[in-house]
């Protein structure tokens, strides 16, 4: 098997030549996944924190459900969104099927539980630490929620990145609701699936390598950003200090 060599060569050729189709596919992938993760974060971060801060009947069932939904198969999400957006379905009138919007909707559904569940876990740990102090200062749940999200921002980056990983890696949902239409809804993962079905394994693997590289650089960028913001603040301290409490 020299498929790995061929794949590397294919990936390199695609990248070096600046293949316009590759650029189109990559940029659509990023747009769709970024949009989905952004919407999922706007929903999932406050939702996860609210599950910690507000006590109401059924709270535990929602927590259990969110954790279960983290493992939702993309194909199932795709199917549900298809049935909703299909012309024969309840939202068919919107005509969103086989558009990037449908893909964003599917990925948002896929990613929101992940971000919400991880946020709940991270915020719960922080709340255990903060609760007495914040209540002592007179912060009710509505005040505590943004505080916890802001103070947990560095760990919450991980939750958002986990969501992004899920969104950019899944193929089952976008394949069904996007239809893998050339120049319209073809993204990295569906393009890979297509090349596999054509038997062009080297090109498929090459595309996979590009996807991996993209995903790695986005993660690296996020962590770099995090470290830069932390480092800048620390560099202003006058004397170096040892952190005694967990950060």
């Amino acid at each position: 098997m020299n498929d790995f060599g061929d794949a590397l060569a294919a990936a390199a050729t695609l990248v070096v030549s600046g293949n316009p189709e590759l650029i189109e596919i990559v940029s659509l992938s990023l747009k769709v996944s970024f949009s989905a993760v952004l919407i999922a974060s706007v929903i999932g971060l406050p939702l996860g924190a609210a599950l910690v801060l507000f006590r109401f009947p059924g709270r535990l069932s929602i927590v259990v459900m969110l954790n279960a939904l983290m493992g939702l198969p993309p194909v199932v999400v795709g199917l549900i969104v298809y049935l909703l957006l299909s012309r024969a379905g309840p939202l068919g009138i919107l005509g969103l099927l086989f558009t990037p919007y449908a893909m964003i909707i599917a990925q948002t559904i896929l990613v929101t539980p992940i971000i919400a569940a991880l946020t709940r876990q991270l915020v719960e740990d922080l709340w255990t630490e903060y609760e007495e102090q914040l209540r002592s200062l007179g912060a009710g749940p509505f005040r505590a929620l943004p505080t916890l999200l802001w103070d947990g921002r560095f760990s919450l980056v991980t939750a958002v990145l986990a969501g992004f990983g899920r969104a950019s890696a899944e193929v089952g949902a976008v394949m069904i609701v996007g239809g893998n239409i050339d120049h319209v809804t073809r993204v990295m993962t569906t393009a890979i699936a297509l090349e596999v079905s054509k038997g062009d394994l080297a090109l498929a693997l090459g595309l996979g390598m590009i996807l991996l590289a993209l995903s790695a650089s986005i993660n690296a960028a996020a962590f770099l950003l995090r470290d830069i913001t932390r480092y800048n603040k620390r560099s202003r301290t006058i004397s170096p200090r040892v952190t005694k409490w967990k950060t």
Binding site: L38, S41, V42, S86, R87, P100, N180, I181, D182, G199
Partner: protein, 282 residues
Amino acid sequence: MTSGFFRSCLIMTIIASTIPLSSFNSVTASDRFITVASTTSTRNSGLYNHILPIFTKKTGIKVRVVAVGTGQAIKLAQNGDADALFVHHKPSEESFVRAGFGLKRLDVMYNDFILVGPNLDPAKIEGSNRIWTALKNIADANQPFVSRGDDSGTHKKELSLWKISGNNPQKSSGDWYRETGSGMGATLNTASAMSAYALTDRSTWLKFANKGTLKVLVEGDIQLFNPYGIIVVNPALHPHVKWKDAEAFADWLISKSGQMAIAKYKIKGQQAFFPNAQGLKK
């Protein structure tokens, strides 16, 4: 603090919703397009990349192809999620029209199915004139055979051929008969990895890059004829269907220019599809 937070949430939401609005250039309102539900085999053959630009240049109508198995393609068209259906299983297509989902079925082109298998050919079927004897030999020898198993046109064809051969391979499913439940390419990948026999359409085979030890063993039987037809989805059932543009596409496919375009498409020097529209339109 709180108001600031919610303000930033709001801003993020607005940004989130404008990114796609501003940048999915292909979804703008001025775009005139139709959606065609078709099969993976035609898409994988590369035919569309060859003929669709010609049609678009002539009419200004873009064609979006959603390539799935024939079964799923028919389902899409039934739900009104496509404007036209372009598949290759005549009995299903005819019942689709009879049930009122489509306007009428037009012959467009054909190619043929072929039986591929490993070089060593343990079932000794190479050169058989009759597909049913070849299949019978494979069954009798219990040699591995990989099936689509996905209710696609090719799968339906394969099952009908087994029936003619007097075998019911699904009884041996999981034994020598393997149903992949996936597309033609994935099935050929499996056959290649297992050194198994498989039924495929010729165009996918010509384009397929991962042949391994597989080669064509049986071809040319009249039973292996593989006709493609186009059906415009019935606008009476789905008023939003762009039936005029879809009809323009169907008309072009069976026109002289469309038929020429199909005939001219070659994979590795071989003609992939043979136009057979009746009553050529000018």
